[in-house]
Assembly symmetry: C2
Homo-oligomer: 210 residues x 2
């Protein structure tokens, strides 16, 4: 393939994913058809299937796009020169926002969260692993700058990521996603920040915590 | 009803619940029939239905019995004269044990946890509310003894109870209940204690945390 062809292919992929994202956001996964997405981008159904073998794979690509927005933002923060404590707080804020974006992304809602299809599980699992790596990196940085105590950075990172996930899961247990309003997001954000504060106290050195 | 009759009724209830508990523990909710339980206690099926209109209600009674074991144990701890910090740690240990007992109680497992039947949801919700009250009581006691800082004891209690619930939910998300082994219970217990430790640091006064 020539460079131009690759570029065109990339352009088409992006076009499809953007169109799918809009459809999913307005009508949900079940009510959106591959036909509609094909027609949105002025493409035959067969051509669309050339790029995505089924709707679930296309939806996975949309989730991954959203996930990459989070990772790109995290990259910017990681390179902003702030200290490890501030980095960890920014991570939690951004993570809370990402959850909200994912929810707003679609009217899938219960579909989205209770769906056990391996394709979604895979996307979420790989996201979580990257997330743990990022947090472990922040903890390592904090150990270097003597803000944080020495310890098992990977174990601690996973512990924090799981605690934050637990906060979201408990919230979803007690409130249907469909009924989420502004105050629920605020409540979630508040609890996630509270967890971050507790976690920080746990790992900070005596000097840093003063 | 005479006192004797009430006593007899109570005795029958206990007999039924104990028989049901054994059946559920060995064969699970689905594979146990009301017929079998009736026969275990030497009772006609119709008589059993006089006490419990259906299997779910009987199962709820078994859960409540287990929950009462937890509350009775908590009562003993609460009256043992130890300080609030020790009380909170004991509560978390006992809560972790209770979770394990509930799992061992039955081979229901996925049934048990993914079942959305309102009858179970009600039993768990009422348990959680009592649990929050107990923790709020411990926090209040700690404020009185100046171990803990003043603050919204109910909000803090719910926060801790939800954090611990989150730890269990995340664990169950990543591992099928059927595959739980000793190391999983240890891992869960360790993480619940870690959460308790973080929470304590957060609410303890400067004096108490030294």
């Amino acid at each position: 393939m020539t460079d131009n062809k690759i570029k065109n292919e990339d352009g088409k992929l992006e076009l499809i994913i953007n169109a799918a994202q809009k459809r999913f956001a307005h009508y949900g996964l079940c009510k959106t058809t591959m036909n509609e997405i094909a027609s949105d981008v002025g493409m035959g159904k067969a051509s669309l299937y050339y790029y995505f073998p089924d709707k679930e794979t296309l939806f996975e690509a949309v989730i991954k796009k959203e996930q990459n927005v989070f990772f790109d933002e995290m990259d910017k923060i990681l390179n902003s020169g702030i200290d490890a404590t501030a980095l960890l707080k920014k991570y939690v804020k951004l993570r809370s926002l990402h959850f909200r974006h994912l929810l707003n992304l679609s009217k899938l809602r219960s579909d989205f969260f209770h769906n056990t299809k391996p394709v979604f599980a895979k996307a979420f699992e790989s996201f979580k692993q990257k997330e743990v790596e990022i947090v472990a990196g922040i903890i390592q940085y904090g150990i270097t700058t003597k803000e944080f105590k020495r310890g098992n950075k990977h174990e601690n990172a996973e512990f924090l990521v799981h605690l934050l996930l637990g906060v979201r899961m408990v919230k979803l247990k007690y409130k249907e996603i469909n009924d989420f309003d502004e105050s629920d997001y605020e409540d979630l954000d508040k609890n996630m920040c509270k967890v971050a504060g507790m976690f920080l106290k746990e790992i900070q050195t005596e000097v840093a915590s003063r």
